[in-house]
Amino acid sequence: MQMISPHSPGTDDSAGAKKPAEAIVPRMKILVIEDDLEAAAYMTKAFREAGIVVDHASDGESGLFMGSENTYDVMVIDRMLPRRDGLSVISELRKRGVNAPVLILSALGQVDDRVTGLRAGGDDYLPKPYAFSELLARVEVLGRRKGTPEQDMVYRVGDLELDRLSHEVRRAGKEILLQPREFRLLEYLMKNAGQVVTRTMLLEHVWDYHFDPQTNVIDVHVSRLRSKIEKDFDKPLLKTIRGAGYMIKDEG
């Protein structure tokens, strides 16, 4: 969900914010299984503008066919589909050995929907209605996941270094002291360096709560973190992407 509030701190990066994805996302091919044709058309157009190749299926059976015949980086699957339920499509794909990450869209909105969705083999879950920026950010993170080595012990962005083992953070060789939560926040941002991370994603991965934070709580934490890692340095690394979230990136 987009957050545009008077409290939003540090809108220092409005220039490059229009289409953040265009420049940074490598070409990715995704499958969208969605029966609402209008929503699908909007999604397809918006994904293409972000440089992502989209195939679309409008029911469960054809989605299952396309998903098992072709190779996709990410699949976006609506939970309620004609001819075959979304969750059954996912479990059947998994049975056939399709390992591409799946994002589940659901209008049901039950609290435990997310749990059942992930149990069926989904990798991420987004309740409707959602902002497209949220969907895009999640799809990009899912698509990139394969390439991000989980076993990397040190994350680097420009002159910023984060050691996951010793929990040390340095910038230009100078140690920066962070609170445990700030460390996890930075860790998640750096793990997805160059990609937009939304506030909801941060609340999910850093605090383990799965709902829309609704207020500026996350912004305040990010701005605290920003002041710690950028205070004594000229070059900003942590950018606010207006209407979407945050991104850590070395502009080079």
């Binding site: 609290v111 709902f211 609704q214 207020t215 305040v220």
Partner: protein
């Protein structure tokens, strides 16, 4: 007519009774018939023995005399003396079914015979007899009249008719008993429920004074109706509120869209469009919160309950909000007893606490009170009490029930951001957890900024 239970029941009873009666009648008839024929046989047998003795003692003359004497008595048995070729020589019978006199001993089946002129009666009668052959070739038959062959069947038929008449009467009485009384009440109940189905929820089912099964059924159905009526009323109020509270943001949205069209400058138009998105997001949030509340109230997520560390959730939430409070110039202080575990849903409890902290910060900012928010968690008796205390303007005692309701906000102008649903969600979450929500003043003595303390009371874990 067969749609009526009374008629069906009566018919069934009648059928059953009729079957029983028929069985009884036939059984009794068969038994008495057997008994009668036994007695007849015995009497006949005795006479045969007498006749044999008389013949042995006094020859044919004595036998004839004896038979003549006996035949004259009223209600006498049947006596026949026949020649060896079956011709009747003497006796009180005109003729017998041919062949009967040829066989010695008991006749196997009742046979027909013709008695001497009997005025008006049927010509043939049925009889059973014992036939004796004397040494001189004469045959002696002693028998007993069984009466008119139709008579016995007539008796049986009459008995049956009487029984069936009694059954019919019984069925009528049963129909009156059940149909007129009990089933009429069921009819009244269904009439009342028809009206209720037609939409009149104020209707109630009739309740008698006897307190029997029907009254108890009516009572519980009435209680159910009362609950439905109350829920329905609540629902209507909620939808009224929703309609009212969504009109304002929708109007704003529309105005902003009109502005955006009118704008000629690119950046101003962009700003207007962003305002539209923000406004829509706020609307979506309101809808999500509403849906969330109704789902929590419906208890559809009860399955996701597990043991959660209330102390950890409390301190995590405080930690999450601490920077926000600090930025607003408020101190966030925690007094949390560690290790308090409840059966619950971490997401919902977390969201409830977030809502309360949001409120506390929002209303403390402009207050002159002590700029401090306290998060307190302690054990008290069998319960765990989690309180969020602020020193803001507080909520007057008479408004504390009101303010928990959906869309109710003290600030009528709605100048502060918010959906007016925060406390409603907290209350729904507490209800789901079998706990309660308490609102009180943080410092009653401070008239200017009494503050608000919202306490979530959780039932402690059962030992």
């Amino acid at each position: 007519m067969f749609r009526s239970t009374a008629v069906r029941l009566s018919a069934l009873y009648m059928l059953l009774f009729a079957l029983c009666a028929a069985f009884l009648v036939f059984y009794v008839t068969a038994m008495s018939e057997r008994l009668l024929s036994q007695q007849t046989r015995q009497a006949v047998q005795e006479e045969v023995v007498d006749i044999q003795r008389a013949y042995e003692r006094g020859g044919i003359n004595l036998l004839l005399r004896m038979m003549e004497r006996r035949a004259r008595q009223p209600g006498a048995n049947l006596y026949v003396i026949a020649s060896p070729n079956g011709e009747i020589l003497a006796g009180n019978v005109a003729s017998v079914q041919p062949g009967v006199l040829n066989e010695e001993g008991w006749t196997n089946v009742p046979f027909r015979y013709e008695p001497f002129a009997e005025v008006g009666g049927p010509r043939f009668h049925l009889a059973t007899a014992n036939v004796l052959k004397l040494d001189n070739g004469l045959r002696i038959m002693v028998g007993r009249d069984l009466g008119d062959p139709g008579r016995f069947r007539g008796i049986v038929r009459r008995a049956l008719m009487v029984a069936l008449a009694i059954m019919g009467l019984g069925a009528l009485i049963i129909w009156f008993g059940i149909g007129r009384n009990a089933l009429k009440r069921i009819d009244r109940m269904s009439a009342a429920s028809q009206k209720i189905m037609a939409g009149d929820l104020s209707q109630r089912l009739p309740v008698g004074r006897s307190g029997d099964e029907f009254d108890r059924l009516s009572d519980s159905l009435n209680a159910m109706l009362g609950r439905i009526e109350k829920l329905n009323e609540g629902l209507r109020q909620v939808s009224d509120n929703i309609a009212h509270d969504l009109k304002t943001p929708l109007t704003r949205l529309r105005n902003k869209a009109a502005d955006a069209i009118a704008e000629t400058r690119d950046d101003a138009r962009r700003n207007a469009l962003e305002g539209i998105i923000a406004e829509s997001d706020q609307l979506i949030r309101t809808f999500n919160a509403l849906l969330m509340i109704s789902r929590v109230e419906a208890g559809s997520i009860a399955a996701e309950m597990s043991e959660v560390d209330l102390s950890a959730i409390s301190s995590d939430s405080a930690e999450l909000y601490e920077p926000v409070a600090e930025e607003a110039g408020l101190a966030l202080v925690t007094e949390i007893e560690p290790g308090l575990i409840v059966q619950g849903n971490r997401e919902l409890v977390g969201q409830a606490i977030f809502n309360l902290l949001d409120n506390a910060i929002k209303y403390s900012v402009e207050s002159n009170g002590d700029p401090k928010i306290v998060v307190k968690l302690s054990r008290s008796g069998g319960t765990f009490r989690l309180s969020i205390c602020d020193n803001g303007p507080g909520v007057p005692a008479h408004k504390r029930v009101e303010v928990v309701k959906r869309f109710v906000r003290l600030d009528e102008s709605r100048s502060k951001p918010g959906t007016g649903l925060g406390l409603s969600l907290v209350e729904a979450v507490m209800e789901l957890h079998g706990g309660s929500l308490e609102l009180s003043a943080t410092d009653e003595a401070n008239a200017e900024a009494p503050g608000l303390t919202v306490t979530m009371v959780f039932p402690g874990r059962k030992p």
